[in-house]
């Protein structure tokens, strides 16, 4: 591969990663505003129009914070944990297919708008989001504080418990598409039809979609499953001993994790970039459709956070192992029957 092509790939990765960071910044604003509206107050509306510049003000404040390290921590691990967590959260976006069309930028046709169309994209995404757990447990252990360690242990047990359900809930789509490439999965629903229609996989595996949503909430440490930082019990959970930009990196990673899972859910269950009744959309419409679907996902997650109280920890684990796991297996077997018999293959 010539050097300029590698350089172009670097630029593409840079653009995608930074766009995602902008989306993250906007999402913190959207979440705070929406939560405020749910609670009959206004939320941040002072900085810039509608408070849109609030994330920039927050960043400037965090940059000015002292880069503080408590006495008893393991210095290297304490620093490495937030970096690793953010790195793994960002890495998932390497295989997210924001669009399958080629982009025509000023006469120069770039490859499709995903950073890398890996043959094993799904495995890569699952692996990277799973590795994020290391950042949590290392951060909690390095802090050398009771609350932080307990928060990290809780978060880790929760992450691994729900990771099984998450993967199992994704399996029906893999059964029906027979591929691990994210871009092929996004178009996979075209191979299956009910009465001439090509419905998204949410129609083929509705239970799988619901289980995916629940497991995604737990994976992303979102309310009502935000046990790693249950503030009434654990002060701040695994990042109790963190402040300034080190803390920001953890918060950032958490939001990116949520966005990544939303994007995976859109790719798997909501037909990726496809628009019903408009088979030949261009790259811009594709990106718009993907964004709208993701925004819907994010809104549902914020909505749930504003509505549902936190589950008790033992009930959370019991639900994961005793309810979600058998249900996900049931959906998996039903879809396996459909796929192996080829019912509804177009």
């Amino acid at each position: 591969m010539p050097i300029w092509e590698i350089l172009a790939l670097f630029v593409k990765g840079f653009v995608i990663a930074n766009l995602i960071m902008v989306v993250f910044a906007l999402m913190t604003w959207v979440e705070r505003r929406l939560l405020s509206f749910f609670q009959y107050r206004l939320g941040p509306n002072r900085v810039g129009p509608f408070g849109l510049l609030q994330p920039i003000a927050d960043l400037l404040k965090l940059i000015n914070k002292e880069n503080f390290k408590p006495n008893a921590v393991s210095a290297v691990l304490h620093l490495a944990a937030p970096i690793a967590t953010l790195f793994f959260a960002l890495a998932v976006f390497a295989v997210i297919p924001f669009g399958n069309e080629d982009w025509n930028l000023f006469g120069w046709v770039t490859p499709s708008s995903m950073a890398a169309d890996l043959d094993v994209g799904v495995l890569f995404a699952i692996a990277m989001s799973g590795l994020g757990g290391y950042g949590v447990i290392v951060g909690g252990w390095a802090s050398n504080s009771k609350y932080a360690l307990l928060g990290a242990l809780r978060a880790c047990a929760q992450l691994i418990s729900y990771e099984i359900t998450l993967t199992l809930a994704m399996m029906p789509v893999l059964l029906m598409t027979g591929t691990l490439s994210m871009s092929k999965i996004a178009e996979g629903h075209l191979d299956w039809s009910i009465g001439g229609w090509h419905p998204w996989f949410i129609v083929w595996a509705p239970l799988g979609f619901v289980l995916f949503l629940i497991a995604a909430l737990a994976e992303a440490n979102r309310a009502p499953f935000d046990h790693s930082e249950a503030e009434q019990e654990l002060v701040g959970g695994f990042h109790t001993e963190y402040g300034g930009l080190r803390y920001a990196a953890f918060a950032n990673a958490e939001y990116l994790h949520l966005l990544a899972i939303c994007a995976i859910g859109v790719t798997f269950f909501l037909g990726g970039t496809s628009i019903p009744g408009l088979p030949d959309a261009n790259a811009w419409l594709d990106l718009l459709s993907f964004t709208v679907k993701m925004a819907f996902f994010v809104f549902v997650f914020i909505w749930i956070r504003a509505t549902v109280p936190r589950l008790r920890y033992d009930r959370l684990m019991r639900m994961g192992w005793k309810a979600l796991l058998p249900l996900a297996t049931a959906q998996f077997l039903i879809t396996a029957l459909i796929a192996s018999q080829g019912w509804g293959r177009a």
Partner: protein, 123 residues
């Protein structure tokens, strides 16, 4: 799949590494300095809501976490076997489906045993 198809991933991971290190680096470069070094070590104690810190944070932990991790490994290995089988199930047809049922059946026996022994209970 050649090694070359991993170059885009490598480039993205490079960017993904630059962003967090850059962010933390900003904190080192522009963060406020300690304005009261004379207070010394007290401000650096672990946060315990004002209660005396007591002994160090790393202590014995409930066994449940360890148990969950072990169970996770079993079921995760299950997923590792399930993914390749799932990808080819359309080619295998009914044979593949029965194969899958046998596999899930064996797993279900183990799952029922674990449930019966109370390993899924939290106190």
């Amino acid at each position: 799949m050649t090694l070359e198809s991993w170059i885009p991933i490598g480039m993205f991971l490079l960017v993904a590494m630059m962003i967090p290190t850059g962010l933390i680096g900003l904190g080192f470069a522009f963060g406020a300095r300690n304005s009261r070094p004379d207070i010394g070590g007290n401000r650096g104690f672990a946060f315990e809501s004002g209660v005396s810190t007591g002994h160090a944070g790393r202590q014995r932990n409930p066994i449940d976490f360890y148990l969950t991790a072990m169970l996770f490994i079993i079921f995760d290995i299950e997923m590792v076997f399930m993914i390749p089988l799932g990808l080819v199930i359309q080619d295998l047809g009914t044979y593949g489906f029965i194969e899958l049922l046998v596999f899930v059946g064996i797993l279900a026996v183990g799952y029922a045993y674990v449930w019966g022994r109370g390993a899924l209970e939290w106190e």
